[in-house]
């Protein structure tokens, strides 16, 4: 399972501080850390960290995500998503790997597309 510190090899490229409010499309090629408010859309080809005091009302796309705050919107994560115990999520999740800590709130549906290699082989028919 992906751990938070797996993503922390170097400082995040974009940091939205606790007093900052962002409205619009926040798009980045690097890591994003949000501790403030974001309304609109968040898109990164790398990692997203949402701090415990953050409030996001936006659709989210990222490679990996670690969520500890409030997220209202659909979340698409290409690889690993970690939902911490302080997180509150209202929206649909799409990701390859998911971890939800005890105590976290999650309202919505979750889709996990299986990789081709992971598809189960059809069971052989019973031989008489």
């Amino acid at each position: 399972m992906a751990r938070k510190d797996e993503f922390q090899n170097g400082a995040p490229e974009t940091i939205v501080g606790a007093t900052v409010k962002i409205e619009g499309d926040l798009v980045s090629e690097g890591d994003i850390r949000v501790d403030g408010l974001v309304a609109g859309k968040i898109k990164t080809s790398k990692n997203l960290f949402v701090g415990p005091m953050a409030k996001i009302e936006a659709d989210v796309e990222a490679q990996n995500a670690v969520l500890s705050g409030i997220v209202k919107g659909d979340i698409k994560v290409r690889d690993s998503m970690v939902v911490q115990e302080t997180a509150k999520i209202e929206g649909n999740i799409t990701c390859s790997r998911l971890s939800i800590a005890e105590g976290a709130h999650f309202t919505g549906s979750c889709t996990m597309p299986e990789k081709e290699g992971n598809l189960k082989q059809p069971l052989p028919e019973d031989e008489e």
Binding site: V16, A18, T19, V20, K21, E23, G24, V27, G40
Partner: protein, 288 residues
């Protein structure tokens, strides 16, 4: 052909300038990079001398002086759209641009770097009609550099504590707005990252870095006084860091935008990565 423009700067530096100039001329001869030399006076400004060098079809103009001497030379070279390489020999031992470009304030080392002729095309920022290599300060310019104001820098720290936060509103890339209460803000093209944990301001990445310093309590300021006094706000917890090519400063109205303490525009205003680049001789210890 090399053109050297010597800028003695303040009177204090001028006192030792003849001696420095003599030593430097010896090194230039030793490394075979001699050329014509001009000296800045109250009448013959940096701008006039750079123009004079360009009219003489200079291919390399070397500023010998302070960071602001180089900044002024860059602006006139860009304004004239001149195809010229700039060199820099810092006379100030604390020169930020010297550290960024990897050019020592030791005259022999600096001349050796110059003779190496390792040129790099660097991005410039643009505020109003002014081009800048380093950074724009939004609002009050907090102290940077030698943290010796008062006993252990406490005098400077006390002046930080008196600064009132103001509501800043920015639009980045025309795609999103950021609003926040800040103590100060900076838009950085490049900066001296010596001793910094977080590196900001790469003049070759085609982006400007925006730093917003959030309001801090007195105890937080005291705890992080080292970062505050050295101007390394990016190392402070909670500082906002964003990146963009185009930043519009929407408010507060009439907020001053300054480069090295000189105000070049007032909000609402735009700061962008300039289309123009400047070719500068850099050292192997450069920070980008």
């Amino acid at each position: 052909m090399y053109f050297y423009i010597f800028d003695p700067g303040s009177d204090k530096e001028a006192k030792y300038f003849e001696k420095i100039q003599g030593r430097l001329l010896n090194y230039l001869a030793e490394f075979k990079v001699e050329g014509e030399t001009y000296r800045v006076t109250s009448i013959r400004t940096v701008e006039l001398l750079v123009e004079q060098a360009l009219n003489a079809e200079a291919k390399t103009i070397v500023m010998v002086g302070s960071d602001s001497s180089l900044d002024r030379a860059i602006n006139i070279v860009i304004a004239k759209q001149a195809d010229v390489t700039l060199g820099f020999i810092p006379l100030d031992t604390q020169s930020s641009l010297g550290n960024i470009l990897g050019i020592s304030s030791d005259l022999e080392e600096a001349t050796r770097t110059l003779a190496g002729r390792l040129g790099r095309n660097l991005n410039l920022g643009k505020v109003g009609e002014h081009f800048f290599l380093t950074q724009v300060d939004l609002g009050p310019r907090l102290f940077e550099g030698d943290p010796s104001g008062g006993f252990l820098g406490f005098g400077v720290l006390r002046s930080f504590m008196k600064i009132q936060p103001f509501p800043l509103k920015l639009s980045l890339e025309g795609s999103y707005t950021a609003t926040s209460e800040v103590l100060t803000a900076q838009i950085i093209n490049c900066r001296d990252n010596q001793g910094s944990r977080v590196k900001v301001g790469d003049p070759s990445d085609g982006l400007l870095d925006i730093l917003l310093l959030n309001p801090m309590s007195s105890s937080q300021m005291f705890r992080h006084r080292r970062e505050l006094l050295s101007g390394r706000f990016q190392d402070l917890p909670g500082t906002t860091i964003m990146h963009a090519k185009k930043i519009e400063i929407l408010g507060p109205k009439k907020l001053p935008l300054s480069v090295s303490g000189q105000v070049y525009a007032k909000a609402p205003a735009e700061v962008t990565v300039a289309r123009e680049k400047v070719k500068i001789i850099v050292g192997k210890n450069r920070q980008f």
